[in-house]
Amino acid sequence: MAEAITFHYDVDGENFTSAGNASVQVKRKLRQLGFPPEIIKRVSIAMYEGEINMVIHASGGSADVTVTPEEVRIVLTDHGPGIADVALAMREGYSTAPDNIRSLGFGAGMGLPNMKRYTDTMEIDTEVGRGTTITMTVKVA
């Protein structure tokens, strides 16, 4: 079996205009590796939503992506406030985004539901005051 390829990105919590850069780079890498467009779309949208969430809600974090021929695994880790009620956060339309963030077009409360919808597995490990780790996989075959 071919070896796994890994990528690591630090997601800057201050810089809003660069938010999404890690997803864009992963998208480019997957394209170079010859993955099908549908897989690339699912991975990059799920990762983008998670990346933006780390910027908006957790002052940044890091992203680790592991690519094998079978699956793409995305692990997003932050040391933000954590999510008190995961079931509530997962609901379509639930958002705590502040007004200045909403004016940019965020805050539909659709990010986490999109991440769930576009991936095959998604696990949220979170603790208030400690931070959040979200692990998502997209199966290739």
Partner: protein
Amino acid sequence: MKIRELAEKMDLAPLSLPDGDREVEGFYAGDLLSWVMGRANAGNVWFTIMSNVNVLAVASLVDLSAVVLAEGVTLSDKDAASALEKGINVFTSEKSTFELCALAGELAK
């Protein structure tokens, strides 16, 4: 229909037009980015009043055929350059999102 043709018929002003030969495959309207990301399909033309770098990210991730900024909204020079570099078609129009949708509906008949 190609993007170039659509732009002519709807009187859209180009802000970035790297791929005028791209085929139009349906339309989508909305201003909440995650909503658009979850619902719009590849090839759609997207009508919105939002204009910032995240709009370009959504257009690129969903692989939209064009973004049309309604109500005379435009892009900053920096974002327009970035759109061109990313291969994203972006137009502006004085019409409202509703007027754009109505017009697109006529054309799609």
